[in-house]
């Protein structure tokens, strides 16, 4: 007998979910009449970290790295950014710079309960100067840093960003009309003999004065004039309005932040309704997932457009692409098999990927490529193929959990387990194809770029280990040694190897040699996850060997 919720409950649940959805997606309304129109400056271009980007993006990145979030105490990123740049005397006393480490706060004799401190607090602390100085010395001498020293350096780099902004050194908004295409700051061009740049300097000073006096109209007019003046100063190096608009749009709509919420709601809908046969519920859940996928795809596309390269160059981008691959493969398989497991598994795992990428402290800025990765389409081909294989394996891992849980809690639903195992096996094979192709692309790229197609590098070796594990699973299934339980358990173990290849090689194997940011916490969580999974497998194994009495 199939068990499902009574019909009225469906409606209520659906309503609640829709409400939840609307609440999370609604944008907070902002309306205050006499606020300075800072948004007039958001589509100026800034040259920062090797890339020309909209001022809004630069403000977001700066504030995110200094404050740890884009909004705080009713101030948005632009307000904080211009506050530091135009009114440093006021802002350097405000507690905005995030210090996470409790040990560092203790060492600096700061209030342990506070999360953020002012620039003056930090730079005025002799203890901090001493700590940062010794940490810099040790870093220069290639010595291992203590975690407190790493924290001090990270706080120091935040404070440096702030002081660069207060001094106006990072405000590279002026495209000089020279042949080299250099950019400059309003402060640096004060003494320039050029009449055009003189005007800009004057208007910027007027804008700064209007800011400090709170004069809305003057601020607006000088900001609007500056926008066209800056563009006309050297139009050949200034990005087109479309490019700027798209990037500002990307920053505003936060596509991945929306996508994961859609995924969450869509997944919950399928899950909570216990595989109800109601077709309209299934369709609406699929529609929600589809909406999430549309946001997700748009985000990936915008990043591709903005960066001018495939968005797969770092942890953040690859995680997002993996999530995209999971949902894409999930939809394709769903279309072929119409089994709902795929929609459920795809939505769930894609949600997990995006929730991680959006909420973990990893760098999400679009930055230019290092030379090893640049000027080649192999990066896109290789990483995308590999990430698609991880996507398929992630999907298989979720299906394996479904199979194990079904065996645990519904031991008599062998038909469900069998059908899950079949789909799982098929997904594994798709993953294996992508993994083989991805490793091959990597080998070809390595040969084209370094003259060797294989070098037993840890990343290479671990991808081969993963390949061997999944090959063993496929051969074990072929030989008939792995029935449903074995297949499910082994594909979970296979995915642990994927995590090791994707994350562990960089952050665990190399932990002794490189001082990466959050390796210690990562190790703990990976170990916890591994033990948890092994526990699940062990419990399922015991239950599987002694089937529960009917």
């Amino acid at each position: 007998m199939k068990k499902s919720f009574p019909a009225p409950l469906h409606g209520i649940l659906f309503g609640v979910l829709l409400l939840l959805c609307a609440l999370t997606l609604a944008l907070p309304a902002s309306a205050e009449g006499d606020k300075l129109p800072l948004e007039e400056t958001r589509d100026w271009a800034v040259l920062a970290d090797g890339r020309v980007k909209p001022l809004q993006t630069f403000a977001n990145e700066t504030v995110l790295s200094v404050v740890g979030r884009k909004k705080i105490d009713g101030l948005n990123a632009l307000e904080i950014f211009w506050g530091y740049a135009l009114s440093p005397e006021d802002f350097k006393g405000r507690p905005l710079i995030r210090i996470e480490s409790p040990t560092l706060k203790e060492a600096l004799e700061f209030d342990a309960g506070a999360r953020r401190f002012s620039f003056d607090d930090i730079m005025g602390s002799l203890q901090f100067q001493e700590l940062a100085r010794s940490a810099m010395d040790r870093q220069r001498d290639d010595m291992d840093l203590t975690s407190m020293e790493k924290d001090a350096l990270s706080v120091y780099s935040k404070a440096t960003r702030v002081s660069d902004l207060m001094r106006g050194d990072s405000l590279t908004i002026i495209p000089l009309p020279d042949r080299e295409g250099n950019w400059s700051t309003p402060r640096a061009i004060q003494a320039s003999p050029d009449a055009k740049t003189q005007t800009i300097s004057g208007k910027f000073a007027a804008m700064a004065m209007a800011y400090n006096k709170g004069n809305v109209e003057v601020f607006r007019s000088s900001a609007i004039e500056l926008r066209s003046d800056l563009r006309n100063l050297n139009p050949s190096v200034y990005p087109s309005e479309t490019i700027i608009e798209r990037e500002v749009f990307y920053g505003d709509i936060n596509p991945f932040g929306k996508a994961w919420k859609f995924y969450l709601v869509g997944t919950l809908l399928i899950f909570l309704l216990g595989f109800s046969t109601k077709r309209w519920l299934y369709i609406s859940a699929l529609a929600l997932l589809g909406l999430g996928f549309a946001c997700h795809t748009m985000g990936v596309g915008l990043r591709w457009y903005i960066g001018g390269r495939a968005p797969v160059s770092n942890m953040y981008e690859s995680l997002i692409f993996m999530g995209w691959g999971i949902m894409a493969i999930g939809f394709v398989q769903e279309a072929i098999y119409k089994k709902r497991f795929f929609a459920l598994a795809g939505g769930l795992m894609s949600f997990i990927c995006l929730a991680f990428s959006e909420n973990l402290p990893i760098d999400s800025s679009i930055s230019p490529l290092v030379p090893v990765l640049a000027h080649t389409s192999w990066l896109a081909i290789h990483v995308m193929t590999i990430m698609l294989s991880y996507s398929a394996f992630a999907l298989a891992m979720i299906l394996a959990h479904f199979a194990l849980f079904t065996q645990l809690w519904r031991p008599n639903r062998t038909d469900l387990v069998q059908s899950l195992a079949l789909l799982l096996y098929n997904t594994l094979q798709v993953g294996l194809l992508f993994l083989a192709a991805g490793i091959i692309c990597g080998a070809v790229w390595a040969n084209e770029s370094w003259g060797r197609y294989w070098g037993w590098d840890p990343k290479e070796t671990w991808s081969l280990i993963t390949f061997f594990i999944y090959l063993a699973i496929v051969h074990g299934r072929f030989a008939g040694w792995l029935e449903e339980f074995g297949l499910a358990a082994s594909s979970i173990i296979g995915f642990l190897s994927v995590i090791m290849t994707y994350y562990g090689v960089n952050f665990i194997l190399a932990a002794g040699m490189h001082s990466y940011g959050f390796s210690e916490g990562g190790q703990f969580w990976m170990l916890t996850f591994t033990l948890l999974e092994l526990g699940v497998i062990a419990i399922a194994f015991v239950r599987h060997r002694r089937p529960a009495a009917p």
Binding site: Q129, V372, Q418, L422, G451, F468, A479
Partner: protein, 597 residues
Amino acid sequence: MEHRKSPFIHFFQFLGKVQFTMVLLLLGVVVMTVGTIIESRESREIAQSVIYGAFWFDTFLFLIGLNLVISVINRIPIQRHQWAFVLVHFSIVILLIGSWVSHSIGYEGQAMIYEGSTSNQLFLDTKQLRLDWVGGEAIFPIEPGTDLTGKILQEEEGTRPAVRILEYIPRGTQKVLLGEGRPQDPPGIRFSITGDQEFVNDWEIAKGGRATVRDVGSYEVEVVPVPSEAFLAARREAKPSAGYRVILHARADSSPVEIPLPEGLGKDFQIGDGIVAKVESFFLNARLVKGVLEDVPTAAINPAVIVEIRTASGSERHTLFTQFPDFNVIHNRDPNQKRIERLAFVGAASIPKTRISVLVGPGEQLHLQLTTDSGIEAAVPIAVKEGILLQSSGVKFELTERLLHARSNLRVKPVPDGWQGGESPYLKVELNSQGVGESFWIQYGSMAQHELAGQGVVTVFGQEIRTLPFTITLKEFEVLTHPGSSRPSEYRSQITLTPASKSLPPREEVISMNRPLDEQGFRLFQSSYKLGKGNEPDATILSISHDPGVPIVYISFGMLVLGITWYLRNQSRQAMLLSRAADRAREQLALAGNDER
């Protein structure tokens, strides 16, 4: 016929069975996991030699190939639906063959070329011992992992010396000890430095009459042979240093005011309308002791000042370090807008360590001279076994022994497993010619010259060198950066490539990251570069490989992807049919159940 299979046939068939495949796959997983752990804990070289480069690993790969081939043989005659299987499994056999060709015939090396210079030499990673003597030369490969102890490389014949390896240490460190030298050797000393944080016994030799410098904790020691009385007389005068200064800008447009130190200490300086600055204290070796800055003479040099700034509305104090220009510019909360735009503390050409010079001669005389951050002190006489206090720090320097002629002796010891830092391969070589023998240690990457029965022999322990069929001239090496940052965007070598055969003309080429150059079966890659004077790159390091296995491997790649896709298509179709059939069966069951109800 089936039931009369011989055990050999049984074994042969087992080698192609999926059971054996599983054993190999799981073994591979374990071995490679161990390999990556070794690499992470120890080093890349150890992992290569213990696992991937070892003989048994080749055997392991051979067994995988055997398993694949026999698995296909076992399926003869091959059915139509099995061709995908054959394609996939054979492609991996071809992959293994291709990589064997790469491994046994191919080679790769590095070429370092300075801007403006030309080279046709390729340096391989393999080690070799080269000997040059009058009338001949010889090259011996030194293969790691083989026992070389006592190996005779060549016998004596005519002018050719006999060469024997006495000892080979793949990972060793050297220790140089001081010994009595021959009359032509330079003078040397033994000394000790004792004090607050230093407890050192060491020695130093003046090499070839020129002083060298030895690092000892926070001191440097040198032995300087004194050539003349005039030299000594000049050394007996003290020279104060240029000093430190604090620089203040009252406004961005005003000219800076400089306060020289230590002369300006405690004096008032006008730096603009109604702003007065005073340097209150000056620390050469500033350290924070319980939250307060103190001068700790034993600590490393870390100059700091405390500056007081007074205006009509009040005064404030700031601590500045020379090492922190960034800290020095943040200023001040003056309500009258009389801002100080910039406040900086600039050090003199600072000396990180105090230098102790021992002046030897002429005759029995010995002098000691100190060079510190505050200048060069006058040289003072010193005697053996006499201690001298350095500065006011309580650190004592004692000259324990003086050797008129000293020479250093090399001792080489293998380092323990897991050791990292400074280790290198060493060879102990014995040369014999006409009854004259010489045995010596030679470090990897170095060269030794010896006189054997009046004839010079040069020994080089270094990398294997091969000659390329073309020469490379580096016109320019550039590091391009992303605009507005110091992030490199491109490493680029502009070269002229001249083929050895006269029929081909020289060509201008550019090699950069991800853009290699192909030439006569060689592939040239941008690998690295070397920084010269002023931190400007002045040499490129190209990686050059010659690998005839690549086409075979590429063919196998194509076959593999094609094969898996084909195989998967068959499988998916099967899976879909199975899934649909199961659904249909379940629907029928459900319908039947409803009917019953």
